[in-house]
Each structure stands twice: as C-alpha cells, then as structure tokens.
C-alpha cells in the first residue's frame, strides 16, 4: 500500500515508517499540516494516517478539506486525545477510524489494512465465502461445506465482520468497536471467550481451522 503519514513527532514517525516498510508498505511522510495537505491532494494514496495536532494546520481541518473536495481516501486519525467526544468529532470531520496514542503498532497495522478499500469485498456483496464457509447477509444463514451452522445474532455479526475482512488481522478492540459499538478496554478476556465460542461452532470437526488467533495482535479468518 501507498501510505501518507502526516505526523510532526519525527521519532514516532521514523519508527512507524520503518515498521510499515517491514510490513511491506511504502510510506511518504509530512511533518506539518500544510505540506501534508498539499501531498494528500497532489498524489494518490491508499490511506492517510493523520495526527490530530500538527504545526501550521491541524489534522481535522486537512481531513475536512479533502472530504469537501470529494477525496474519499480512507483516513486514520491519530490522537493523544482519547475521550469519547474527541473520537466523535474526529469521525464527524471525515475520519474513517480513530486511534488513541499510545497505540500498539499491530493495532495500527490491522486498522489501516482493514481501512484500505483495495481487495476488500464491496459493501454491497450479499454473501461472503471463505474456504467452504458461506455467510449470507440477507437470509442471515451460515453454512460450512453445505452443513448449516446455527449462530446467535451477535455471533453472526462477529463472523460477518471477520469474513468481510477475510485474510486480514482484526484486533480485539476493533471487534469490540465494530460488533458491539463500544470503545473501552475490557480488562478481562471478553472477546477471546466470544471467539472461542464462535470457533467451536464453525471449526469443530473440520480438519482445517478457518478462524486463527494471531499472537500478539488479534484474529484472522482465512482458508
């Protein structure tokens, strides 16, 4: 992916660029808001990572301007402000996702890979399929190798989110945000318990497990 990082903290930026490079992404870097805005509107990026507080021009106004010009490049906003209302204003300005500093790199990587529209099944797709596991979004039925699987409504949404992002890592907080719509960090392993139940339903009795745990990051569904 081609990524534009607008971040004034040079140390944090160089660490991020190196890590993104290791993950196979090309990253351009701008250290202030004006330069960042010029680069974002002049070149085609797959994703923008924008710090909220920047010299010369703040992150939210960059996103607002880009959206006003019809630029739909996905934007991940980074911020030290992590309160609920800050997140809401960030997303309202046109950000697609919001990540609070300090964050784990795996979390950032998982989020930008999910955000980049390339290779994602379109929002309009009515069925998702991964290695014989089929999820029908209209009839809300799930089957694996023709065998129907009975899921609770929440389990269905969990699987739907995983399959929509098949082949990509999704973190626990992403699941909590997208499936339950909460942004807090649970201290216990709530998500893991839900995942192990889902795994029992879809992978039990099959030779090749589809639902995989990615150590230190989260979960991924793939064949």
């Amino acid at each position: 992916m081609k990524i534009l990082l607008i971040e004034d903290d040079r140390e944090a930026a160089s660490y991020l660029i190196q890590a993104l490079d290791e993950a196979g992404h090309i990253t351009h870097h701008a250290t202030d808001g004006e330069t960042g805005y010029a680069m974002a509107s002049g070149m085609d990026y797959d994703i923008l990572i924008v710090d909220r507080m920047l010299p010369r021009r703040d992150g939210l106004s960059i996103v607002e301007s880009l959206r006003a010009e019809g630029d739909k490049t996905p934007v991940l906003i980074l911020s030290a402000l992590g309160e609920v209302d800050d997140r809401v204003t960030g997303l309202r300005a046109g950000g697609d996702d919001y990540l609070t500093k300090p964050y784990a790199f795996t979390e950032l990587l998982a989020r930008i890979e999910v955000l980049a529209r390339r290779s994602s099944p379109s929002e309009a797709a009515t069925t998702y399929e991964v290695g014989g596991l089929v999820l029908d979004r209209l009839s809300r039925k799930v089957e694996r190798d023709g065998e129907p699987i009975l899921l609770q409504p929440r389990e269905f949404r969990l699987l739907e989110y995983l399959m929509k992002n098949a082949g990509k890592v999704v973190t626990r907080t992403m699941l909590l945000e997208n499936v339950w719509d909460y942004h807090f960090d649970p201290q216990t392993n709530v998500i893991d318990v839900h995942m192990s139940r889902l795994r029992a339903k879809i992978d039990k009795g099959h030779a090749s497990p589809l639902l995989q745990t990615v150590r230190g990051a989260g979960y991924m569904i793939r064949d």
């Binding site: 309160e83 209302d85 300090p102 909460y182 649970p186 201290q187 709530v190 318990v193």
Partner: protein
C-alpha cells in the same frame, strides 16, 4: 501588632468615631435647646413680675395718692434682690428709687427698654458719705402714673445672664465629658473587636503558611464573631479533609504508578543484562509491553474519572436507550461469567431512556460486572449468580448489578469507591483499584449517586440516576 495610623484606618475605629460625632452633635443640640428654653422661661417670668408690679403701683397711685405710692416705691426699692425702681415727677426728676439716674428718653416715653444702670447699694456708703453705686444691666418698663408721676420698674438681668453662663459651662463640661467617655468606650470597643479580628487574621496567615490544623478561637459569648469563627472552622475542617484526600490520592498514584514503572525498568534492565539470550530478551520485552499497556489503562481510567468528575460538555449527552446498553453489556459478559461458573442473568425493564453518555454508562456497567465476576467466591452449596438489571422507580432510573457472593463488609462499602483503594483480599488480583471510582464519577456526572448495598448474601451495586 498595628501602628496607630493603621488602627485609625480600621472600620471599627471609623464606625466608633462616626457614632461619637453623632452623639456629640445630638448632645449639643439638646443642651442648646435646654439652655435657650430656660433662659426664655426666666425672661418671661421677669417680664410678668415687672408687669404685675407696675399694675399694683398704678392701682395704689389711682386710689391712694402720692404719699402711698411714694411709700410703696420706697419699700420695694429697699428690698434686696434684682428689683429696680425709679419714681420721678412728671418732668422726670428723680424723687425716689434705687437707681441713681435713668436716661430721660426712657422716663418720658413709656415702653419697655433695657439699659446699663447704676444702683444704690443700701447700707453701703463711701467715707465721704456718698452712696456707693453698683453697675448692672436691666430690663425695665416705663409708665406715666395716673397722677402724672413717672415710674420705671425693672429687673436686673445680669443674674439671668449668670444663669445662662452656668448652663453653658455645665454644657461645655458635659460635652467634653461625653467626648472623653465616648473616646474611651469607643477605643475599648474597637480594641476588643480588633483583637478578635486580628485573631482570625493570625489564624488564617498561619494556615496560609501551611499549618492546616490551626483553628480560629471561639469564645463562649456566642455572638456574631463566634458564628463567623464556627463557620470558618467548619470550612477549614472541610479543606483539611479535602487536602488529606488529595494527599492520599497523590500517595496512591505515586505508589500504584511507581510500582509498574519499576517493574518496567527492571524488565528492560534484565533484557540488557550481559549473558541474556535472545529468548530471555524477547520475553523481557514482551513483559515490558504488557506492563506499559497496563500503565496506559490506569492512566486512561484516571483521565476518564477526572473528565467525568469535571462534568460532561453538554454536547456529549444524548438520548440513550439504557435498557439496550445494559442488555448489550450483559450479553458481552455472559460467556465470561459462564466460563467462571457463574450464571449471569438480566432483569431489564424495556425501553428505559435517559440523557446520558452511552460510552461512560457502558463502561460503568462493564466495571461492575467485571468486579462481580473477578471477586466472586462460591458460597457452599449455592449456585453462583449475578443479576444485571435496570428499572424505573418513581422518577429514578436504577441500574443494578447484584451477586450472591461473599459481599463487602459494611465498613468498606464507601471506602472501595475511593481511587486506588483495593481491599486486602483483592490485592493479589490484577486491577488498578479505579473501577468503582469511575462508576462513582460516572454516576455523579449524570447527577446521580452510586452506592453499594447488602444483597444478603452478596453485594448489590446500584447506580441511581435521576430520570
């Protein structure tokens, strides 16, 4: 203590001075009135006396003739006292009387006059045999008698003026006395008031210099100063309590944040230790990340509490379906509870709406459920059960998380709401000790309360919100 100009500038002294001034002005006015009134009365009296004598003498003149009138005037003149008499022939020539001469125009023109006179002093004769004269000032009435004789009757007014002088003297002495007395009394009052105010000032400066346990002295007089002192002391009590709380929190923050920071540092050091293998280093770094994540969680919790305690910006409150939030969170935790061998049940009244912050309410319920699961100890022969519910009661919305576990002793029920407070038996469990503090702060943010009740057995945590 205070210099003289400072004392003169004080409110007490100024008030006292004002009162002294008012008092003196009033006294002067009163005394002037009395003096003038008595002087007037005496004058009236004298005029009446003069008129009465003139009428008597006229009657004598008319009925009894010159001999009788001469005799009568002679008798009156020889009496001691302020009386002044003059009898002259129709042309005004002196015949009888106790004054030597009267100006001709007074004698010849009837009317009321006042003039300086010279009076004979009876039995007082000079060596040459001439009568000694006494000077005076008199008010007189001059008439022509029916027989044609001229009569002048009067009263010496020096005596009257003497009386006025006495009054004025008494009056001056009075004013000076009043002034002195007021000054002394005012000074004493001012001093007493100042002393008490100074005591309060002294206490406050001691407090400002850091001694929070100082208190304003309270006397047994039970006056307004004691009222003020009592209130100030109550306020100081509260401030001291708050400061203590702040100190405790700071100490706890220092302890609870320093401990993981120390662990963090130790991990990093052990990774750098000579002879540490790749595997050791990897492990140390993983622990480092886990520890810092925990620290971040603690910081986030602290910030959230601080934000909630400071009150929500008006924009963040919206209409929230509390029933849905409670049901959602309960559903989220149901599998966790089940794995822990606890039945998590819900008792949710449908469609309870409230202006609230959904995230914070959700977080509060999460904290309560996590606590209930984490600290659950199975009782003998009883099925473990946690009930999460929401219901309306009168005008209130009650969100409850109740368990049938070991419970919290009554004396600890409010203490656990404090920041970083963790009961002894929970010290070993992971956690920041901030969970219930946040619940409490969230309840207050929504203008409600949070309390822990006895569920007999177990604990019932109640978020009580106005709705």
């Amino acid at each position: 203590m205070r210099s003289l100009p400072q004392i003169l500038r004080t409110t007490t002294v100024r008030l006292t001075a004002t009162f002294i001034l008012i008092f003196v002005v009033f006294s002067v006015a009163l005394l002037t009135l009395i003096a003038w009134q008595s002087s007037y009365q005496i004058q009236q009296q004298q005029t009446a006396d003069i008129d009465r004598e003139v009428r008597q003498l006229e009657r004598i003149d008319r009925r009894q003739g010159i001999r009788a009138i001469a005799f009568a005037v002679q008798r009156l003149s020889s009496q001691p006292g302020p009386g002044i008499y003059f009898l002259g022939d129709p042309s005004g020539v002196y015949l009888l009387g106790n004054i030597a001469s009267v100006p001709a125009e007074i004698i010849l023109e009837p009317g009321v006059y006042s003039f300086d006179y010279e009076r004979f002093r009876p039995f007082d004769v000079t060596e040459e045999g001439e009568a000694k004269l006494r000077r005076g000032y008199a008010v007189v009435r001059s008439v022509q008698l029916p027989s044609g004789m001229r009569l002048v009757v009067g009263r010496d007014v020096v005596e009257r003026q003497g009386f006025t002088a006495i009054i004025i003297q008494a009056f001056l002495a009075g004013v000076i006395g009043i002034l002195l007395f007021s000054l002394v009394a005012g000074g004493i009052t001012a001093r007493r008031v100042l002393r008490r105010i100074d005591a309060i000032s002294a206490t406050s400066s001691k407090i400002m210099s850091g001694n929070l346990s100082e208190r304003v002295p309270v006397t047994r007089r039970n006056d307004e100063f004691d009222g003020l002192a009592t209130n100030l002391n109550a306020m100081l009590e509260r401030i001291e309590l708050l400061m203590q709380g702040l100190k405790e929190v700071t100490d706890n923050v220092a302890h609870d944040l320093k401990t993981p920071l120390t662990r963090l540092r130790n991990q990093a050091e052990s990774a750098l230790r000579a002879g540490a293998g790749d595997e050791d280093r990897r492990k140390a770094l993983e622990t480092t990340i886990a520890e810092s994540d925990k620290l971040i969680q603690t910081f986030n919790a602290l910030l959230m509490i601080a934000r909630a305690e400071a009150g929500a910006p008006s924009g963040t409150l919206a209409d929230v379906d509390i029933s849905a939030v409670v049901a959602d969170v309960a559903e989220l935790y149901m599998p966790v509870a089940e794995d822990a061998g606890i039945e998590l049940a819900t008792e949710v009244t449908e469609d309870v709406h409230l202006r609230a912050n959904r995230e914070l309410i959700g977080q509060a319920i999460v904290n309560l459920i996590e606590n209930a699961i984490k600290y659950y100890e199975p009782a003998e022969g009883k099925a473990a059960r946690i009930v999460v519910g929401v219901r309306r009661e009168d005008e209130r919305v009650l969100i409850e998380v109740a368990d049938n576990g070991p419970g919290i002793p009554p004396e600890d029920r409010t203490r656990v709401l404090e920041r970083f407070v963790r009961l002894e038996k929970s010290r070993t469990e992971p956690g920041s000790g901030l969970g219930l503090s946040l619940v409490d702060a969230v309840a207050h943010l929504h203008k409600g309360t949070f309390r822990i009740e006895d569920n007999d057995p177990g604990v019932r945590a109640v978020i009580d919100l106005p709705g």
